[in-house]
Symmetry: D2
C-alpha cells in the first residue's frame, strides 16, 4: 500500500472530497480570467512557467498520479502530454526542457482547458465509484494533487507578474490598486522564552495534510528571542536605499555582494525611477511605491542585508513556527491571502498588541534556516517521492504565506523554500533578535 508516512490521517466522505476538488480546480481557472491565450503562453525566465503550462501541469499531476493508478482502463488524454507537462519527475520519464515551456503554442489554451475538463470528469467519476476501502488511498493522492495545484496557483500569479513586467506598456493583471495607505505602528518586540520545543507537522494542530518536508515532528532547542511586531516596509527600504545600502559591501553576504555587482542591483525587483519618485510594477500595473506597505519581491540577499542594516537579524524557521503556534486561531482567517483579491501586500491595518501582526499572509517571510531535512525525514514512497527531498540544497525556508497564497494552503508547519537570489515571489522581511541572557 502506498504510504504517506502518516501525513494523511483519514479518509473523508466522498462528497467533501468532491467539493474540495471542484473548488480548487475552479479557482485556477478563475485566476486566468484576466489573461489572453497569448498572455498564458509567456515565459520570461527558466524559473517561471507559462500560465498555460501551469494549467496543464497540475492536470497532468492528477492524470499521472491518480487516474493512471486507479482507473482500470487508463488511457491518457494525449500521450505526448506525459513529457510536455512533466515538471521534474525523473521516475515518470522524459521531461520537456523547462526553459522552453514558452515555446509550446500547441496545445492551445482551449485544448488545455478541454484537457482540464476531461480529467476533472474522470477524477470525479473515480471518487464516486471508489468504495470505502480504497478511498483513503485515493483521497490522499487527490489532496496532494490539490495542495500541489494551490502551489501552482501562487506561481501562476508571480510568474505572470514577472512576464508582464517585460512589456514596456506595463499591462495590469488586476484592475484596481487595493491600497489605502496607512502609516504602520513603530516596530515593537515580542519576546519568547524558547527552550526544547517540538517542531513540524502535528495533525492535531495543523489539519489533515502536510508535505513530507514538514515531518517528522521533532524536538529542537530554541534560545530566547524576540520577534518584530510587523513586517519591514517600503519606507524602511527607501531609507536603506538612501543610506547607500546597495553600495556597501559590509551589509551583504559575500555571495549577495557578488549578486549585487553582477546584476547591477540598486533597487528591488520591479522598482524604477529615482529617489523621490520610485514606481514599481505590480499585478495592477505600474504604481507609485507606497512607504507604508510591506516591502516585497526581496531576495534572501536583500532580506539579509536589510536585516543587518537595522542591527537585527532574520528569524530561524523554528522561531517563526514557535511564534505562529501562539497566534489566536482567528489569525489565519483574517490574513491577506489570495482570497482578498488584493494581489499585493497591504499596510498593517490595526495596532495589535498581543502578537506579531501579518505573520500569516501578505509576504512570505525569509528565515535564516536552510531548507534541509528534519531529523528522521523520509521522502514519500513511490513516484511522488521526488516532490520535495531532492531540492534540499542551497535554498532558504520562507514561512507564512503571501497575498498570492490560498488561505487554506498555509499552516504553521508549512515550509516554502527558494534559492537566495529569487526575487519574484512576494517575499519580505520580519526581523528577529537575540535576548541577551
Amino acid at each position: 500500500m502506498l504510504s504517506f508516512h502518516n501525513a494523511f490521517i483519514d479518509a473523508q466522505p466522498a462528497s467533501q472530497l468532491t467539493q474540495r476538488f471542484q473548488t480548487v480546480r475552479a479557482q485556477t481557472e478563475r485566476l486566468i480570467e484576466p489573461l489572453s491565450a497569448e498572455d498564458c503562453q509567456l515565459q520570461s525566465m527558466p524559473d517561471a512557467s507559462p500560465a498555460k503550462w501551469h494549467l496543464a501541469h497540475v492536470t497532468w499531476f492528477f492524470e499521472t498520479f491518480v487516474l493512471e493508478r486507479f482507473e482500470p482502463d487508463f488511457k491518457p488524454f494525449d500521450a505526448g502530454f506525459r513529457v510536455l507537462f512533466n515538471s521534474y519527475y525523473n521516475g515518470v520519464g522524459d521531461k520537456y526542457p523547462r526553459p522552453r515551456r514558452g515555446l509550446i503554442s500547441r496545445p492551445s489554451l482551449p485544448q488545455v482547458l478541454a484537457y482540464r475538463r476531461q480529467v476533472n470528469a474522470r477524477v470525479l467519476e473515480l471518487i464516486s465509484r471508489t468504495d470505502e476501502a480504497d478511498r483513503m488511498q485515493l483521497a490522499q493522492l487527490i489532496k496532494l494533487g490539490l495542495q500541489h495545484e494551490q502551489q501552482h496557483q501562487e506561481l501562476l500569479l508571480t510568474d505572470i507578474q514577472h512576464a508582464l513586467s517585460f512589456n514596456p506598456q506595463c499591462p495590469a493583471y488586476a484592475g484596481r490598486w487595493p491600497l489605502a495607505s496607512t502609516a504602520p505602528q513603530p516596530v515593537r518586540w515580542h519576546a519568547y522564552d524558547g527552550g526544547l520545543v517540538q517542531h513540524g507537522f502535528d495533525a492535531g494542530l495543523d489539519g489533515d495534510f502536510a508535505f513530507d518536508n514538514e515531518t517528522p515532528r521533532h524536538p529542537a532547542y530554541v534560545a530566547p528571542f524576540e520577534l518584530a511586531s510587523r513586517l519591514l516596509t517600503n519606507g524602511e527600504m527607501l531609507e536603506f536605499i538612501s543610506d547607500e545600502g546597495y553600495r556597501r559591501p559590509e551589509l551583504w553576504l559575500a555571495m549577495g555582494w557578488d549578486w549585487v555587482q553582477a546584476g547591477q542591483h540598486d533597487l528591488p525587483l520591479y522598482w524604477q525611477g529615482e529617489a523621490g519618485n520610485y514606481r514599481h510594477f505590480t499585478l495592477q500595473g505600474l504604481q507609485e511605491v507606497d512607504p507604508n506597505t510591506p516591502a516585497c519581491h526581496l531576495s534572501y540577499f536583500e532580506a539579509d542585508a536589510l536585516a543587518r542594516w537595522t542591527g537585527a537579524r532574520l528569524p530561524t524557521e523554528f522561531e517563526w513556527e514557535l511564534a505562529a503556534r501562539l497566534l489566536p486561531a482567528s489569525s489565519a482567517k483574517s490574513g491577506n491571502f489570495v482570497e482578498t483579491g488584493a494581489f499585493h501586500p497591504l499596510p498593517q491595518q490595526q495596532a495589535r498588541v498581543e502578537a506579531p501582526a501579518q505573520l500569516l499572509g501578505d509576504v512570505w517571510e525569509w528565515t535564516q534556516s536552510n531548507y534541509n531535512a528534519y531529523p528522521g525525514y523520509q521522502p514519500w514512497e513511490g513516484l511522488v517521492g521526488e516532490y520535495n527531498g531532492k531540492f534540499m540544497c542551497n535554498q532558504f525556508v520562507l514561512r507564512g504565506g503571501s497575498c498570492a497564497t490560498p488561505q487554506s494552503h498555509v499552516r504553521a508547519s508549512y515550509r516554502n523554500f527558494f534559492p537566495p537570489d529569487a526575487q519574484w515571489q512576494f517575499s519580505g522581511v520580519r526581523l528577529a533578535r537575540d535576548i541577551q541572557g
Copy 2:
C-alpha cells in the same frame, strides 16, 4: 529632396502602386492563416522573430518612413509601437530588445491586425491624395516598404518553422507534402568565359527597384569557371554523412570545425533519426528525407565543407550573377518561389541542357563572397540609410531566392546575406569550379 541615388527610376501611376501595395500587404496576412495567436507569438531564438512582430514591424515601417513623413497631421496608432516594433534603426530611437520579442503578449494579434488595417487605409489615402509632383518620392518609399515586407514574409516562414520545431509534437504549418520524388540528372558543368564584367543593379535589366547594396554597377574581373547544372541534393548530403563528413576536420574551415564541435552538429538542422531512417522537420511537419530533393537549411560552414568534400568549391557572387544574367527570361516565372505553395525545395523536374537548373528559387545559394560594399557604394540618405550598409561584416552573400521568397522580390542583382553559422533559411549549395587555363 530625399535621394535614393537613382535606385528608383520613375514614379508609377497611382493605381499601379495601390494595387501593388494591396497585393503585398494581403499576402502577409494570408501567410498567417494557418497560425493561431499563440503560434504568432513564438520566438525560438534571438535571430528569429514572432510572426506577430513581423506583422507589426513591417507596418511600423510604413508608419514611420511613409506616414510620419508625408501625412500633414501625423499621429501614431500607438506611441509605444515606435519602440516595440523598431528593429534596428538607431536613428529612429530606442528599440525593444530583440531577444525578448516573444515576451510581448500585448498588443494582441487582433490589435496588430487592426494596426495593419489602419495604416493600410492611411497609406492608400496618401497615395490617392498625393499629386504627381510628390508621388515619385512617395512611390519610392512605398516600394521600399513593400520589398521590406517581402523580406519579412520570407523570414516569417523560416522563423515559424524554427519555432514549431521545438514542439515535440511536430505541428505542421502547411497541410500537404508537396514532393513527387524524381531522381535528378547527374551533375554536368556549364562553362563561362568570364572576363571584365559589369556587376550590380541595372534598371534596364533588373526592374524598377534595387536595394542600395546592389549598387553601384561596377566592373569586376571574373576568371573562366564552370557552374554545376543543378543543386546538391539530400542524396549527396547522405553520402557526406556516411563518409564521416561531420567528423573530419580537414573538410571544414577552422571556424566551421569549432562550430561542429561546440554545437555537436552531426546532421543538418531539423534532421533526426539514424542512417537509413532520417526524417526532418519541415513546414509540413516531420517528413522522411527525400534523397532527390535539394539539400537545404545548411550553414555556410556546411555548404563549404560539402563543396570541399566533392572536390569543387562554392561560386563567387559574381560568377553566380554572370550565369543568372544569361538565363532565358522565362526562368524566373517557372521557379519554385513562395507562390507555388510548396514551402519546400523540389526535386529537379526536367533535364535542362542550356543552363543551370534551379538558379532561381528552391534554395538560396551560398556564395564564397563576403557581404561587403561594392566599389563606390553609398548607403541611402536619411533614416533608411541604416537598412543595409551597417551589416557588411562577417556575413556571406547568398543568391537566387528560395521556395519561401516571393517571386517578384528576386532579381539577378539581388544580394541576400547571412552569417556563416545561420542554418534556418532555405539555403543550399550550387557547386562551381575553376577552368584550368
Copy 3:
C-alpha cells in the same frame, strides 16, 4: 580594545609565540620546495590560487592586520601589494580580481620570498618589543595570522594538485607513493545516545584559539544516531560506479543531478581510464586507484549520492562533533595530517573497536549541515570581521581535517566549509544513520 569575543583566552610568553610564528612560517616555505617559480604561478580555476599568491597573501595578512596596527612608523613593503594580495577584505580596500591571480608574474617568486623575510623580521621585532600589557592583543592577532596561514598551507597543496592536473605529463609534487594497501575492516556502527548537548568551541577542551564561526558554545538537541566505524573507500566508489551510480537521478539531489549532467561527471575528480583500470592524478602523479584507500576529492553532491546509495546518510556536524569529543586524547596525534608526509589519505591501518577510525585526518568529512551562524553568533570586530560570517550561504560544513591539514590546526569544534560542487579538497564520506526509537 580589539575584542575577539573571548575566543582568545590568554597571552603567551613571547618566546612561545616567537617559536610558533617561526615554525608555521617556515613550514609554508618547506611546502614549496618541490615547486619551481613557474609552478608557483599556476592558477587553474578562479577558486584556486597560485602558490606564489598564497605565500604573499598570508604575509600581507600579517603586514595589514599586525604590522600596520602595531608598528609606530609603519611603511608597507610595497604599496601595491595592498591590492594585489588582498583576498576579499572590502574593508581594506580594492582587491586584484581573483580569477587573474595567475597573471601576476611580477613580483617574482624571489621577490615574494624577500617580502616574507622582511615581514617576518618585523613581526619578530614587534613581539620582542611589545610589553606585557599589549602583548595579549598582539598575540591574538598573530595566532589568527598563523591559523590563517595554516589554512592557506592546505589550499596551497590542493590548489597545486589541481593546477598540475592540467599538465598532460602528470608531474608529481611528491616523490613517493605512500600507500601500503591494506584491506579495511567491514563497516561497523557506533551508537550514540544524543540528547541536548553543548556544541562549539570550549577553551578548556579545544585549546587557545578558535575562529568566530565556532562560537558561541550553545545547546542543540541531537537524536540518537550511529556513526560508521570507518570512511567510505575507493572500493565502495568503484561499486557505486559499476552500479551506474553516476547515471541514476534517483540517487542525487536535483542540483547534484544538474551538476552531473552539465559537467558530464561519470567519475570522481582526477580519475581517468575504464572499469578495471582506473587511475587518478595525485600529488604523487598518476597512480592506480587503490580500492582500500578512503575515497576523496568528492563533492557534496557525490558524497550525498554515495550515502543515499548505501542506504545510510551523511552525519550532521553536531553528530560528528559529539563523536569526536568522545575520542581518546591520543587520536589527534596519530592522525594522517600533513606532517606524515603522505599527502594522500591512507587505508585504515588497524582494527579499532572503541571508536570510529580516521575521524581526524585523512579526509575532510562532509556533513549535511549547512554552514550557518550558531545562535548568538557575532563576527569579530574590526577588519577581520570579514573572515567568516559573510560566507554563510550555500556552503556545507566539513569536519576533521585531512592529509593536507596541519595537525595543530584542527580541533573538535573546527568547521571547514565548501560549496556543494567543490571537489578539489581532500573530502570524503563518513556514514551515519538514525537509530529507530
Copy 4:
C-alpha cells in the same frame, strides 16, 4: 615530391640557409631577454600564448615538419611535445587546448631552451648532410619554418604586452620610451589610376618566399582612388573621442556597435585616464598618449568607425598593394620594424612628397578586404596545408607590417589577417577615398 606550388623558387647554398636559420632562431631568444620564466608563462586570453609556448611551438614546427620528415632515425626530443606544442594541425594529431597554454609550468623555460638547442643542432646537421638533390625540398620547409617563427616573434611581443597589461604595477618590457614627438604633416592625398591590375605574389618582385594565401597572382579591377599621405594619429583619435565617437551608433558597423556596448568600449585598448590626461600601457610601461604618434591597437570596428567619422574609408587590400608596389625600393629598409628597437609606432619623421609615408612598418593597416581565397587558390599539399586556408572566414586583411614585425618578413604581397574585434596587434588606420569619375 612535396610541392609548394611554385611559391619557392630555388634552393639556396647551404651556407646561406644556415646563416638565415641561425639569425632568425637567435632573434627569438633575444626577444625574451627582458623576461623572466614567470613572465614567459603568462597567458592572458585564449587568443594569446605564453612566450614559452611560442619558443617551443616554433621549434616543434621544425621538429615535426623538417626533422621528422628528413632525419633517417628520427626520435622526438619528448614525445609529449607533439601534443603540447601543436597549435592547430589536426593532421598532426591531438592538440593541447589553446586556452590552457598558461597552465604548462613543465617543461620549464630552461627545458624549452634546451629543446631549442637540440633541434637547432639537428637542423643544422641536416642542412650540412643533405645533398644538392634534396636540398631544395629541405630549404623550402626551413624557409617556411623561419617565416613561421617570425610570425610568432611578432605575436610574442603583442602577447606579452597584453599579458603584462593585467599587472596593476604596469611592468615594462623595454626600458626606454622611443619617441621624440614631432607634429605630423597634414594629410594629403595620393591619387592612383587603378585599372585591371595583377595582384599577389610575384617572385621577381617579392623575393624567394610567399605563403600560399598570397597566390596565385591574378588580375583584379581597381577603380581610381586616393590614399592618405600618412597614418591616423592619436591626435585624431582624441578628436574622435571628444566628438563622442564611441557613443554614436551611426559611426559604427552594427556588429561594431554591439561590440562597443557589450565590451563597454570608450577608449582604445590599453588607454586609461580622462580627457586631457590619457595614458596607455605600452611595451615601455604606462606612458602618456602622444598625439603625434600613429594610433594603434585598434580593432577593425574602431578603424572602420574612425574612417567613417573622417568622411573617408579604409582601403581595399588591392588598393594598398598597388600603392606599395610603387614605393621606392629603399622604403622597406627605412621602415620602423622590430629591428629599430622602438617597439612602438613612431611619429612621421619627414615630409615625403612622392609617396604615402609609413606604408611599411609602424602599424598594420586594416583594409576593408575580407580575408579570403584568391581566384584559383590552392592550399599547400601535405600537413602544412592547414597553415592558412582554413582560416578564411570572418577575418579582415591587414597590410604592411608593424613595429613588431621583422623587416625581412614583410613584402608587398603579404597578407596578415585578424577578426574584426582583435585589438592587441599594432594595428592602425590608413585612409582611402574614391575619385569621383
